[in-house]
């Protein structure tokens, strides 16, 4: 790795990432207090983080163009794992998402699929600079359709939504004409009833109660109501780290994974929530800067995919905790407990950093 590459490392982006991860570690400790072994969770997380940071370094060091050239084995491998998970996967909440990995926990191939899709889409959209006809758009869509289909089949609605959002953002950045964007939007809406049929009852209930949580305050609406209560009761300054009653007394479901932000909101209040949001804002701002400065269309598209992936996660996850989004079960990047997501997010950050390191030379 040359000195020039290191010179353009975005230290702010990297620092923000580390800060969010450290913050996540503290919150996980708080959220798992009543399991009796919060340090155990933190240790697992440190392992995940070290592994993820290694992959981050590797992803940054390897030229993203080389990564993009390998899009077939990358996407193929991810798809292969998705098929494997359908066969041997562990079922949680009625969805098959996990491949058991012994003491490391489990691996969730759908997380990897996000990054694989970004790489594959970027490579294929780069190859078709003129996207003004369906003939060029449809092959690209087919690439996205395979992982989306496999994940909907699990069914993991949240991750499927992430993939759709990534695809839309990248198509938009790649210059797809407005009519095609509109048509795709319409087609997505038309697909909703089909999707509805594929969902489990609990997933449908989650969506229904999002419209009216009062319908079933003790059942499906429970998480939504309790999460809002937790957030709101934190008020401006929070109840104090490790002292959230909603958290400690298990009123919040999944408080160390999908609902970790409620622990932030309850224990650290509005100020804590703003701090996390500010860190993400800095991260996204640095990410968009890399998008702008990417030296080629491939880098720009990959960076857009990665930034929009993180942005979508943040908005949907936090939106869920404050009752603005339905409960779909997608984690808060760098903060939620969960190895697969963390490792993949760090890898994506590495790719993003790598794009930034190989930016245009026109400045200075």
């Amino acid at each position: 790795m040359s000195a020039r590459l290191l010179r353009y490392v975005d230290w702010t982006l990297l620092g923000t990432t580390l800060a969010l991860m450290a913050f996540g570690g503290v919150m996980i400790y708080s959220a798992t207090q009543n399991t009796g072994d919060p340090m155990g969770f933190v240790k697992v997380r440190v392992l995940h983080a070290l592994f993820g940071l290694t992959l981050l370094a590797v992803a940054a060091a390897v030229d993203y163009q080389a990564i993009a050239r390998a899009w077939r084995p990358v996407l193929g491998g991810a798809m292969f794992l998705l098929v494997i998970v359908m066969l041997v996967g562990i079922t949680t909440m009625g969805s098959q998402r996990w491949i058991p990995l012994g003491p490391l926990g489990g691996f969730q191939p759908s997380e990897l699929a996000k990054l694989a899709l970004i790489i594959a889409l970027a490579r294929n959209l780069e190859a078709h600079p003129d996207l003004d006809s369906w003939r060029t758009v449809i092959p690209v869509l087919l690439i996205a359709a395979v992982p989306v289909g496999l994940i909907v089949e699990q069914p993991d609605l949240g991750t499927a939504m992430v993939l759709v959002a990534i695809t839309a953002a990248m198509l938009f950045a790649a210059g797809a004409p407005r009519r095609i964007m509109m048509a795709l939007g319409g087609a997505t809406l038309a697909g909703v009833p089909v999707l509805w049929q594929m969902l489990h009852d609990y997933q449908r209930r989650r969506l229904i109660v999002f419209i009216d949580p009062g319908l079933d305050p003790q059942g499906a609406g429970y998480a939504l109501i309790q999460s809002k209560i937790a957030m709101g009761s934190g008020q401006m300054f929070g109840k104090g780290l490790l002292h959230g009653t909603q958290n400690l007394l298990n009123f919040i479901p999944e408080q160390h994974t999908d609902f970790i932000f409620t622990v932030v909101g309850e224990e650290l209040g509005f100020l804590g929530a703003m701090t996390v949001l500010a860190l993400f804002a800095i991260w996204l701002w640095r990410g968009m800067t890399i998008v702008y400065l990417a030296k080629d269309r491939l880098g720009m598209l990959m960076a857009v995919g990665i930034v929009s992936m993180i942005a979508f996660h943040v908005v949907v996850n936090i939106g869920m905790t404050v009752g603005l989004m339905p409960i779909t079960g997608i984690p808060l990047p760098f903060i939620s407990h969960g190895g697969s997501a963390l490792v993949v997010m760090l890898m994506a950050t590495g790719v993003l950093l790598g794009i930034g390191m190989r930016r245009k030379k026109i400045l200075f």
Binding site: G232, S233, L249, F251, L284, V291, Y292, A311, V315, V322
Partner: protein, 609 residues
């Protein structure tokens, strides 16, 4: 190749992200800052649960400090309606554990819709096995809680049932009447007997326990506590030994229904009050089953009825004491007066029968052997109005105002009231019938006991009472004073003759079966004909005859002959009462009774952790 980023589209993407982030900031501000207080309150409601600490009711002791009713710890299965998730599943899981049907549980919940925050008691006094089962299945039973509550325990069950009464869940009417006393649905309240009469003292005030609970409703930590104040204990005038003797004697009579009253003629204190058939008040303490309740209510002999005070019966020859009193006072008879008793009494067209022809007898023999013709003669001369006057002087025909609920007054007919009530005139034969306690005359055993007490104590009408001692709210013991209801001013000679005649009855007359060697007993038997079956058997008397300390009335419904079925019962009660050497008025009651009444037994109810 110089790549140029699509600035417009990237700007649009950035804008979308910025707007979305802005919305999140606004929403967080709204929820956490603007509505924070409301959500904080909700989170407090989430984690804090208030439990009622049921105050144990006061202990009731007999006059010697022996407990008649206490409280024992028990577990109650209850549900919190607000926390009941998936009620159908929970009820289906819970029902077999409690030996109930889901429908019964549902009915319990629905009957208490008014109070969502209070636990609804589904089943009281469940065994430890049920508690263990519920705790093991806690995860499947959200909203189900176990309360540790004191349960009323009547140590002597049937023996003291009618005096003690029973408790039950407050009903709608009682609730309305008692709203100001802070009763609420599900509270237990005295329904009869002492439990009802002294409800205000016996009821404690419930405490509250504030616990922090987790999302499954499991209590984790105590946040605060207002201790329950146990009800005040009271001491009754009953003597358990006398009560037991009365109950056992009544049972030994072999006849299903009857009553015994034993009273101290010097004060009106009741030493015993028994009614049969009886019931087990413990059945009510944990909520009586509908089946058991129907069994009691539909029973032809009405076990819940207190025959000692709650029902009036034809007094029969016991009423001859009234006739004798009136005749002696009016001077138409003295102890030497002689009567011709051929076995019948003719009045115009009517003939009134007697058991046998006695020939010529004096008044003493008439009293001793309860010779009808003697009293027919006197009654006929006195007339109904005079008989009624003396009956009322002696306390018949009106309630005694004993400190027990549901007392009846009985009936004393008279020429003036008969006309007003029945519209028929008073026939001379009515006076003749009345003289031996037949016709429309009815009295409760308690009234008869008070009447005999007046004779025994030579003219003082005390109000009968069962309460001996009670502590006021400050903890100071207050003894019930004797309540003077009136003075019956009769000639001393009248009392002398009555006493002599009643002694003669036990000594050599109809009441011989009540005699105890070494003790002079005075008494009067009665065999009261009634339209429902065999005559009722009565014995009413006092002892020791020269300085009476106890009056006993034994009544056996359809017992046929007072001298045969009632007198032996009275004898056993006399024996028990006299061997107790009942203390004089003014002597302090047994020390232990006072101590126990003051130091109320602590029992609290707490949720199990």
């Amino acid at each position: 190749m110089d790549f140029q980023a699509p600035r417009q589209r990237l700007f649009a993407l950035s804008l979308i992200i910025a707007i979305a982030t802005g919305i999140l900031v606004g929403r967080l501000w709204q929820i956490q800052v603007l509505q924070g207080t409301a959500y904080l309150r909700q989170s407090e409601e989430n984690r804090i649960r208030d439990y009622v600490l049921t105050a144990p009711r006061g202990i009731v002791y007999d006059r010697k400090g022996r407990p008649l009713v206490t409280n024992r710890p028990s577990f109650t299965v209850a549900m919190l309606p607000l926390e009941l998730r998936r009620p159908a599943e929970v009820m289906a899981t819970l029902a077999p554990m409690l030996g109930m049907t889901p429908g019964e549980i549902r009915a319990r919940i629905e009957s208490s819709r008014a109070r969502l925050f209070e636990p609804v008691r589904v089943k009281r006094d469940v065994g430890t096995r049920v508690v263990a089962m519920i705790e093991e299945n806690r995860m499947d039973l959200p909203g189900v809680i176990i309360l540790a509550e004191p349960v009323r325990y009547y140590l002597h069950g049937k023996m003291t049932a009618h005096v003690m009464g029973y408790i039950g869940e407050i009903d709608e009417d009682e609730l309305k009447a008692r709203k100001i006393e802070r009763y609420k649905l599900g509270d237990l309240v005295g329904k009869s007997g002492v439990e009802r009469k002294y409800e205000a003292a016996l009821r404690g005030s419930d405490g509250r326990l504030r616990m922090e609970v987790d999302a499954h409703g499991r209590p984790l930590r105590e946040l605060g506590r207002v201790a329950a104040v146990p009800g005040r204990s009271i001491v009754l005038s009953l003597d358990l030994d006398v009560q037991r003797a009365a109950f056992e004697a009544l049972q030994a009579s072999g006849l299903p229904s009857g009553a015994v009253v034993a009273m101290d003629p010097r004060s009106g204190e009741l030493l015993a009050m028994v009614s049969t058939p009886s019931f087990d008040p413990n059945l009510f303490a944990t909520g009586i089953s509908p089946k058991a309740w129907q069994g009691l209510v539909r029973h032809p002999l009405r076990p819940l009825l207190n025959r000692a005070a709650g029902a009036a019966f034809e007094p029969g020859s016991v009423f001859k004491l009234v006739t004798a009193t009136a005749a002696l006072e009016r001077g138409i008879v003295n102890r030497q007066s002689t009567f011709h008793a051929p076995g019948y009494f003719r009045l115009g067209r009517w003939v009134f029968r007697d058991l046998k022809a006695w020939g010529t007898v004096n008044f003493m023999t008439g009293m001793a052997n309860s010779i009808n013709v003697v009293f027919y003669t006197l009654g006929n001369r006195l007339g109904g109005e005079v008989l009624a006057l003396y009956a009322k002087m002696l306390g018949l025909g009106e309630v005694t105002n004993i400190d027990l609920p549901a007392e009846v007054s009985g009936t004393i007919p008279s020429p003036s009231t008969k006309k007003a009530l029945v519209g028929e005139p008073w026939y001379p034969g009515d006076s003749v019938n009345m003289s031996i306690g037949q016709g429309a005359v009815t009295a409760t055993p308690l009234q008869v006991a008070r009447m005999v007490s007046v004779i025994a104590n030579r003219g003082t009408l005390y109000q009968p009472h069962v309460l001996l001692l009670m502590h006021d709210r400050g903890g100071k013991a207050r003894r019930t004073g004797r309540v003077l209801q009136g003075r019956v001013t009769l000639k001393p000679s009248t009392f002398d003759v009555l006493h002599e005649g009643m002694q003669a009855a036990v000594d050599r007359g109809t009441g011989r079966a009540a005699a105890i060697s070494g003790v002079m007993i005075a008494g009067k038997t009665g065999s009261a004909e009634n339209p429902r079956g065999k005559p009722h058997a009565w014995f009413a008397g006092f002892a020791p005859a020269r300085a009476p300390t106890v009056v006993v009335v034994a009544f056996v419904e359809h017992g046929f002959r007072g001298g045969i079925s009632a007198a032996p019962i009275a004898r056993r009660v006399f024996l028990a009462a006299l061997s107790q050497s009942t203390p004089d008025r003014g002597a302090t009651p047994h020390q232990t009774a006072r101590q126990m009444a003051r130091g109320s037994v602590r029992g609290t109810s707490e949720p199990r952790r």
